[in-house]
């Protein structure tokens, strides 16, 4: 094992996959000579050259369509969209084209594209550089969406995404880029569609994504001192999501909290709680609680008040314990 920062785990995944398969190309703004706005592609331009590490004009919509065409005829493009907020500029490419090309054309074309995009608040970047929009994309048939929260998971999931023959959106929380964690020296993959139980527990299931996994683990420590033993599931994949792991856990604890940084309304938490209610309502001993951001844009100065954290998880866990049927 070695200790590595999250951003370097991304860099290693890109480097290893580009070495393994010369159809893998990296496309984006500032990804080449500058090495990426957050440094994810540092050194790759020197290693693989301008044919494979492509600095583009500021044309998110154009490069998303370009990736679709390139993927349809055999390349495996990785597109970096510098901030997830900018995904809104290329929605036609992602939603109308890439997501539908395989199905709409009767499986004639496959589009193995990875879109890497940093999301989330915490850098005081304001309303247009801080959003978590994963639910938008999880709502579109044909896309896969993953949200790794640790160096180990981001490296393994990004490698799986690059090898996947479908479009996969890899959402990174910007505040995690500097996070250090252990990863194996040897090659490994983390499968898409499988959740990871980050902490076993018996009293309440907490399903969390990305940064909120770490907040949930902090909450678990604090709650442990009060003899409340929560189970923390890192969902890892948003679409498809690992229903089996979540349902099994809820069937064990009989209580569910879902925590994500995105706006609570119409979010991933709503989908999970609806499925749990539809499929195993009888297993629940209490109301399902969701933790998420309030229904406002992310303000520059009031980020602390805006961002959900461990305290919010603790409150939700206590509330579900109080509200036993």
């Amino acid at each position: 094992m070695k200790e590595i920062r999250y951003i370097w785990a991304i860099n290693e995944a890109l480097k290893e996959e580009m070495e393994r398969d010369e159809d893998v190309v990296l496309i984006g703004e500032d990804v080449g000579i500058p090495g990426g706005a957050f440094g994810a592609s540092r050194g790759l331009y020197d290693r693989f050259g301008p044919e494979r590490v492509i600095d583009t004009p500021i044309s998110e919509a154009g490069i998303m369509g370009l990736a679709a065409g390139a993927a349809a005829c055999g390349l495996r493009p990785i597109v970096e969209i510098m901030f997830m907020d900018f995904m809104t500029i290329c929605m036609d490419g992602i939603v109308n084209q890439i997501a539908k090309m395989r199905y709409m054309f009767g499986s004639q074309y496959t589009v193995p594209i990875v879109i890497r995009t940093p999301a989330g608040g915490g850098l005081n970047a304001g309303p247009q550089h801080s959003q978590s929009l994963e639910a938008w994309f999880a709502h579109v048939p044909g896309l896969k969406v993953v949200m790794p929260g640790t160096p180990y998971d981001v490296k393994g999931l990004l490698k799986s995404a690059i090898r996947d023959d479908n479009p996969v959106i890899v959402v990174e929380n910007k505040t995690l880029h500097a996070l250090k964690g252990p990863i194996p020296e040897q090659e490994y993959l983390v499968p898409i569609g499988k959740a990871d139980i980050k902490k076993q527990g018996t009293d309440v299931t907490v399903v969390a994504t990305s940064r909120m996994v770490h907040e949930a683990l902090k909450a678990a420590d604090i709650l442990g001192q009060e003899n409340i033993n929560i189970e923390v599931i890192d969902l890892l994949s948003i679409s498809p999501w690992d229903k089996e792991t979540v349902l099994n856990s809820v069937a064990k604890t009989h209580r569910l909290v879902i925590a994500h940084e995105a706006v609570k309304s119409f979010g991933v938490g709503a989908e999970i709680s609806a499925v749990v209610a539809e499929e195993i309502m009888e297993e629940l001993d209490a109301a399902i609680m969701r933790v998420g951001a309030p229904f406002v844009p992310i303000p520059f100065s009031l980020e602390k008040a805006y961002l959900p954290n461990a305290d919010d998880v603790i409150k939700a866990v206590k509330r579900t314990l109080e509200r036993t049927f």
């Binding site: 044309s59 919509a61 109308n96 199905y103 009767g106």
Partner: protein
């Protein structure tokens, strides 16, 4: 560039007639309810796809528009399976999932008609990028209307294609109408091709004349094939009918419609071929009759083909 021989010229003529007769037949079967959804006919514009695609190999790529039947037929799509797809049948190229507006045939490099105006422009730029990367020698032709040049992806794509000298020919079929709105209301320039200057590429305007388009497309395809980068061609074309089949065109003057229909790229070619003694009057009738029979046969094939089973609905969303 070599001038096309007699045999080739007759083939080009036949293709143009096929496109027109197919569109006429589709207008008929659409209007009597045999095909649901939308149909956009390209009558009046047949010269462009045929003249341009005559320079392409089967392995070259084309991206088409919502008005895309002509592009697919000019690239050589199988007429019976084309009809089957338009009728939504199981044996169509896209298993009945695309219909008219998303028709694609991978084996002929037909990247698909596109329901989004300008949707195909960046995608075509991407296939050109892949061909350049893989050094395959393939060329991509990207068809679009002048309305698509209003979209941002037109600018973004031509900018990138020029920067990277991609092997692509952008072909603007300017029929003067973006759905219900005429060019004068949308474009501050007379020619879309004038915009090529902004990308440091060559832009060429030409009339809706087979030979003129053939010549310019030949040069542009050769330029792309030799690695000399993209070209923007603009054909001043005409739209004889409405935006879609059934469009009453209340927004358009009778004068404009009459003017559009008085310009007939097929009749012009036919006259030239007759003048040049390449065709005779009786050949024209014979060709028309044969094409009519082929289309009837294809329509009947489509009619008799099965619809996909409901169990197909959830299949193959993911690879």
């Amino acid at each position: 560039m070599q001038k096309p021989g007699k045999k080739k010229l007759i083939q080009f003529y036949e293709k143009m007639v096929t496109i027109r007769r197919v569109e006429e037949k589709l207008m008929e079967v659409f209007s009597n309810g045999e095909i649901p959804g939308f149909i956009h006919a390209c009558i009046g514009q047949e010269a462009t796809p045929v003249a341009v695609c005559s320079h392409l190999k089967d392995t070259d790529y084309v991206s088409a528009t919502h008005r895309g039947h002509g592009h697919a037929l000019a690239k050589g799509i199988n007429l019976r399976l084309f009809m089957a797809e338009l009728f939504g049948k199981k044996n169509g190229f896209c298993r009945g999932r695309s219909g008219s507006m998303h028709l694609a045939d991978r084996n002929l490099g037909i990247l698909g008609a596109n329901g989004i105006v300008a949707g195909g422009i960046p995608i075509a730029t991407g296939t050109a990028f892949a061909s350049q990367y893989k050094k395959t020698g393939q060329v991509t032709v990207c068809f679009f209307g002048e309305g698509a040049s209003d979209e941002g992806t037109f600018h973004e794509s031509l900018n990138i294609a020029s920067l990277r000298k991609l092997p692509i020919v952008y072909v603007c079929e300017n029929n003067g109408w973006a759905q219900f709105t005429p060019q004068a209301i949308r474009l501050p320039v007379n020619n879309v091709a004038d915009r090529a200057a902004g990308y440091n590429i060559s832009g060429v305007v030409m009339p809706n004349d087979f030979f003129k388009i053939y010549e310019e497309a030949g040069k542009a395809v050769e330029r792309a094939r030799k690695g000399k980068g993209p070209t923007l061609l603009e054909v001043k074309s005409t739209r004889w009918y409405g935006h879609f089949v059934g469009d009453a065109q209340k927004y358009r003057s009778q004068k404009d419609i009459t003017a559009a229909r008085s310009e007939d790229c097929i009749r012009n070619l036919e006259n030239k071929l007759i003048e040049g003694k390449i065709l005779q009057k009786q050949d024209v009738e014979r060709i028309d009759k044969r094409i009519h029979e082929e289309i009837e046969e294809a329509i009947n094939f489509a009619r008799e083909s099965p619809f996909p089973d409901d169990s197909e609905l959830m299949k193959d969303l993911y690879a």
